[in-house]
């Protein structure tokens, strides 16, 4: 456990415990507490990472392995956007308002734990905490879809927990320790492949299931579509990425894929990554629901990260980390905007929407920016991360993978073009006639995220420097 970042875990947890007592009679206090906690944490993190002296020093002063800090910042950023959005989105009479914020803060604390921990058991504990909070959050509005999504999420991911437990048990037997470092040391020694690699493969499988990689993806569309609107942003933007994809990336570096260790596993992970890219993109083409298309797009984008993680070279890891951050920004924007759309137009069915840019210009244009970033259009941030991943593939001689990754990035553009035309552009639909732009506080998170997307894209050299520090520190 990275002690320096422990406060970022404990404070939200503390607030989460506090909220039900303090806000018992005044539910609005829950909003304020949650937002203030996260905002304070985020400001603190920005101070740590973006002081001029730190930037000038090439980010050498960042504590820990720098990846934890970056991901904690992403968790806080998305969390803040979601809580801020929820504060204005939730209806006044929602009975479990305090519980909602407590759960969100608990899940943020759990995610912080996941990204700062240094051993597998703690990782497992926090991931389970995260899963339990997510089940509860999905059903916030007690809708049938939410309950179905939660149940599917629960049942389809429970094999993952079992597999992770088995893997941890084998680790305990054969390594005698559960710390990340012991696995790293074992992999850099000349020991033959054996139970340790098999155990890693089981753990990896567990996390792949949790990431929603094809063919373990079946829960994602239903969970994202059915869940309470701001929660889907939380879930798709950060929760599944931390509970699954982050661990995959971490394991990939620990297993030293870049050294050619655990070759079979590395190849398998890469194959699953590419399969996800392909299936997610192709399935997204035909979707008619805005949220469901976003869910399939999420599967496809996770595929890019997993593909890069499976490759494991420093450049690929940089690409994976960068894409993880980017995915958090653009997916959060899109899911929050889908919530706004749902609120204003009453539907997310793309056949019924159309010409929304006339009625909801801010929502439309922030969505378009996020879409373009997802599809990898320069100079937005999504372009750079995909570029890094494809370059890494090409450099490693995996030209077929590189070309296919590029091709499916075009398919990404295609389904987002379809979405843009059906939802935002074109002739005004009856839905667009009815609806009007949502209030400024609901737009603020999307606008903030778009600012981050554009800034990361334009200030890519600085961010590249940072990600390079990350890659240097975690691949040692």
């Amino acid at each position: 456990m990275d002690k320096g970042l422990l406060a970022y875990l404990l404070i939200p947890l503390f607030t989460a415990v506090l909220i039900p007592f303090i806000a018992r009679n005044r539910p609005r206090l829950a909003d304020i507490f949650a937002n203030v906690t996260l905002l304070a944490g985020l400001v603190n993190l920005l101070w740590l990472a973006l002081r001029p002296s730190v930037i000038a020093g090439g980010f050498a002063d960042i504590p820990g392995d720098a990846l934890s800090l970056l991901l904690v910042a992403a968790v806080y950023l998305v969390g803040l956007c979601v809580t801020f959005f929820s504060a204005y989105f939730m209806e006044e009479g929602l009975p479990n308002r305090q519980a909602y914020y407590s759960l969100i803060l608990t899940s943020i604390a759990a995610m912080t734990g996941v990204v700062t921990t240094g051993d597998f058991f703690t990782l497992y504990v926090f991931i389970e905490v995260l899963a339990v909070t997510s089940f509860a959050l999905i059903t916030t509005d007690d809708s049938a879809g939410g309950i179905e999504g939660a149940i599917k999420y629960f049942f389809l991911t429970f094999p993952a927990s079992a597999l992770i437990m088995v893997g941890i048990a084998i680790f305990m037997i054969s390594l005698g320790s559960l710390s990340f470092d012991s696995l790293r040391v074992y992999m850099s020694s000349d020991m033959p492949d054996g139970p340790v690699v098999f155990a890693s493969a089981l753990i990896m499988l567990g996390f792949l299931i949790k990431s929603g990689v094809v063919p373990f993806h079946a829960w994602t569309p239903d969970a994202y579509q059915g869940s309470y609107a701001p929660v889907s942003a939380h879930l798709a933007g950060i929760v599944t990425k931390i509970s699954g994809v982050y661990a995959v990336v971490k394991l990939a570096t620990l297993l030293r894929f870049f050294d050619g260790r655990a070759q079979a596993l590395s190849e398998l992970v890469m194959f699953l990554g590419l399969l996800s890219i392909a299936v997610g993109a192709i399935a997204a083409l035909r979707q008619t629901s805005f949220k469901r298309m976003l869910a399939f797009s999420s599967i496809s984008q996770v595929g890019y990260i997993v593909l890069a993680a499976g490759l494991g070279t420093p450049l690929a890891i940089m690409g994976a980390v960068f894409h993880l951050i980017n995915h958090a920004t653009f997916k959060t924007t899109l899911f929050l905007n889908s919530a706004s759309l749902e609120k204003a137009a009453g539907t997310t069915d793309m056949d019924k929407l159309g010409g929304m840019e006339h009625a909801m210009p801010w929502t439309s244009w922030t969505s378009v920016i996020a879409l373009l970033s997802t599809a990898g259009v320069p100079p937005l941030s999504g372009f750079w991360s995909k570029l890094l991943i494809i370059l890494a593939l090409w450099e490693s001689g995996l030209k077929t993978y590189a070309v296919l990754a590029l091709l499916f990035s075009i398919v990404t553009l295609a389904y987002f073009m379809i979405m843009q035309r059906k939802v935002f552009f074109g002739r005004k639909s009856p839905a667009a006639e009815r609806s009007s732009e949502v209030s400024a506080p609901l737009l603020a998170p999307a606008v903030l995220m778009c600012g981050v997307i554009v800034a990361l894209g334009l200030l890519f050299p600085y961010f590249y420097q940072y990600v390079k520090v990350v890659a240097e520190r975690i691949i040692l």
Binding site: E148, I151, K152, F155, L156, P159, L163, F198, A201, L202, L205, L208, I209, P215, F216, A218, W219, P221, D222, A264, L265, L268, L272, V279, I282, A283, A284, L285, R286, Q287, V411, A414
Partner: protein
């Protein structure tokens, strides 16, 4: 600013300024254009009198620098270009039928600037830049000169013919530069290229195509007669009659003498090209019934003399070619101006509707007589001397056939001008032209100036030869002997015989045509064999452009269209069909069934574990 830049920059700036002036202002545009061209002319004259200068900027890197230089040949050419620009802009002051005045003068000044640049460029890449720029303004010049569809069509024809040949020139320049290792013409001239191996022959032929096509030689001439009917007289007097000839022949001389050392075969090719151009075009000119169209064929035919002169490769012939170039530009411009005046005053250029205008338009008529005599090579006007030099050069090579062809060309030239002059200025004046008056002064002034030059360069042939032609030959590194002076030798007597024969022929034609001057060519037009040939030519069977447009372009474009449809299908229909199928299948699969999903997850996990466990 360096003086050398003024003839290039000033017209461009003025042309752009012209576009800002309202179309409704009356004299402003004309005066601005005239002022710009006259100042450029003064600058050019100054440059001509100064010793050779060079202005070089680093450009593009890799041995390609933007170099302008005024060696004597370039300075002479610049002077000529500026002179004609000034004269035409004055002439156009009150010329109607030139289209929108703003665009006319814009095109005129742009053409002047780019022609000046092409003349001054020492680097071939810089020259190409200006040369290709002229192509753009050639198109706009013709397309904007009349409102008709025919003007657009002819503009496209001129553009395409010249675009193809300019592409040849471009390729030629690149190959030449590659072989020589430099694009600077003066550097190449220190170590001339020879035609000993295939690539250099190829390069020279490409340069040759570019040059003679610019000059309007056979078989690249076909747009000129069309432009004569579809555009304005000032345009004809300026571009095909003057600027194109100057640049084309200039670069032909540069390529043939300065850059390459030619061999006997290439000499024969050049002289044949010249002779064929003379004869084919003059045969066509002879039977024309329209003032400008007749002149335009002569513009082509005279190019043949210049190519023939340069093709002799001896100093006398080359001197004749260059001298003929400037002489031709003078009298042909003058002739087109008379055509423009007649058209303005009488309202038509159709020979059968004109007649007896000499009394009504004595100055125009006089200018016509001088220029026509000059083009026909009647002593002692300028055309006589340059043609004599070309004949002499041709005879010196020993190929008598080319001399005979050139004399035959002379005969037909004179015959056709007898017909033209007779039917426009003499004979009976038609009823409709009773009130015709002399053209305005602004049109007469440049005409008289050029007629004056024709006379001056004739009686004082020594002057232009000493001032312009000898220095030009020196710029081309040629040694030469005496180039001027009147000799009553056998060449002179041959020319007298040709004159007599032409007069006889005209009288014969008049008798055959029932005394009507415009029918004086019919006895040859409708002679056996020739009649059918002319009929085919009228149907444009010999026009490579029309041939290509009729026979080659449709099947090629059809094939390309089909190929395009195929690619469209391959990149549009096929992928969207395939992805449609796949995504349809995947949405049918994602039906929300929990057991199905669970089975998929478990099956996937099982396969994963087997694979990781080493099961292959």
């Amino acid at each position: 600013m360096n003086l050398i830049l003024i003839p290039i920059i000033l017209p461009i700036v003025s042309a752009l300024a012209l576009l800002l002036i309202s179309e409704r202002t009356r004299w402003l545009k004309e005066l601005l254009a005239i002022a710009a061209s006259i100042v450029s002319l003064l600058a050019a004259a100054n440059l001509f009198l100064l010793p050779a200068q060079t202005l070089s900027y680093a450009w593009l890197g890799g041995g390609i620098s933007f170099t302008l230089s005024t060696d004597t040949l370039s300075a002479f050419l610049l002077l000529a270009v500026s002179l004609f620009s000034a004269a035409i802009s004055i002439y156009s002051f009150s010329s109607p039928n030139k289209g929108s005045a703003k665009w006319f003068f814009f095109n005129l000044l742009m053409t002047q600037a780019f022609a000046a640049g092409a003349a001054l460029s020492d680097n071939m890449v810089a020259m190409l830049f200006f040369w290709e720029g002229l192509l753009v303004f050639l198109y706009t010049f013709i397309a904007l000169s009349q409102e008709t569809k025919a003007a657009k069509r002819t503009a496209m024809k001129a553009f395409l013919i010249n675009a193809v040949t300019d592409l040849c020139l471009l390729t030629g320049v690149v190959i030449t530069g590659y072989i020589a290792g430099t694009y600077s013409m003066s550097e190449i001239s220190h170590n001339k290229l020879t035609l000993d191996y295939g690539w250099s022959v190829f390069a020279y032929v490409l340069l040759l195509i570019g040059a003679v096509s610019k000059a309007g030689a056979f078989p690249f001439h076909t747009w000129i007669p069309d432009a004569a009917t579809d555009s304005s007289a000032p345009f004809m007097a300026y571009v095909p009659a003057a600027i194109d000839k100057l640049l084309g022949i200039y670069f032909l001389a540069r390529a043939s003498v300065y850059l390459f050392t030619l061999n006997g075969t290439m000499q024969l090719v050049l002289m044949t090209l010249g002779a064929v151009t003379i004869l084919v075009a003059v045969m066509m000119a002879f039977v024309q019934k329209d003032y400008k169209r007749l002149l335009s064929y002569h513009a082509v035919s005279q190019t043949g003399y210049m190519i023939l002169g340069i093709g002799t490769l001896n100093p006398i012939g080359i001197a004749g070619g260059l001298f003929h170039m400037i002489n031709h530009a003078t009298y042909k411009s003058c002739l087109f101006m008379t055509a423009g005046s007649v058209e303005r005053q009488a309202g038509t250029g159709d020979l059968s509707k004109l007649g007896g205008l000499f009394r009504a338009m004595p100055i125009t008529g006089l200018c016509f007589l001088i220029a026509a005599a000059a083009i026909s090579g009647i002593a002692p006007l300028n055309g006589f001397f340059s043609k004599e030099l070309i004949y002499k050069g041709t005879l010196d090579t020993g190929y008598t056939w080319f001399f005979i062809a050139a004399e035959l060309g002379s005969f037909l030239t004179l015959a056709s001008f007898l017909k033209l002059g007779h039917s426009v200025y003499f004979g009976k004046r038609p009823e409709g032209l009773k009130d015709t008056k002399e053209a305005p002064f602004s049109m007469l002034l440049p005409m008289m100036a050029f007629a004056g030059i024709c006379v001056a360069f004739g009686f004082g042939a020594r002057l232009p030869v000493q001032w312009f032609i000898s220095p030009s030959l020196e710029a081309l590194n040629l040694q030469h002997g005496l180039l001027f002076g009147f000799h009553a030798d056998k060449l002179y007597f041959v020319s007298v015989i040709v004159i007599l024969a032409a007069v006889l022929n005209h009288m014969l034609g008049l008798a055959a045509g029932g005394g009507k001057a415009d029918k004086a060519s019919d006895h040859i037009h409708y002679a056996p064999v020739l009649k059918e040939t002319y009929a085919l030519a009228e149907r444009r069977v010999f026009d490579i452009y029309e041939l290509a447009m009729d026979k080659v372009v449709p099947p090629v474009s059809y094939a390309l269209f089909k190929a395009d449809r195929f690619f469209d299908w391959a990149i549009d229909t096929v992928p969207s069909g395939v992805t449609g199928l796949l995504s349809g299948a995947s949405s049918r699969f994602h039906n929300g069934s929990y057991p199905l999903y669970m089975a998929l997850t478990l099956a996937g996990a099982a396969v994963y574990i087997l694979l990781v466990g080493g099961f292959k």
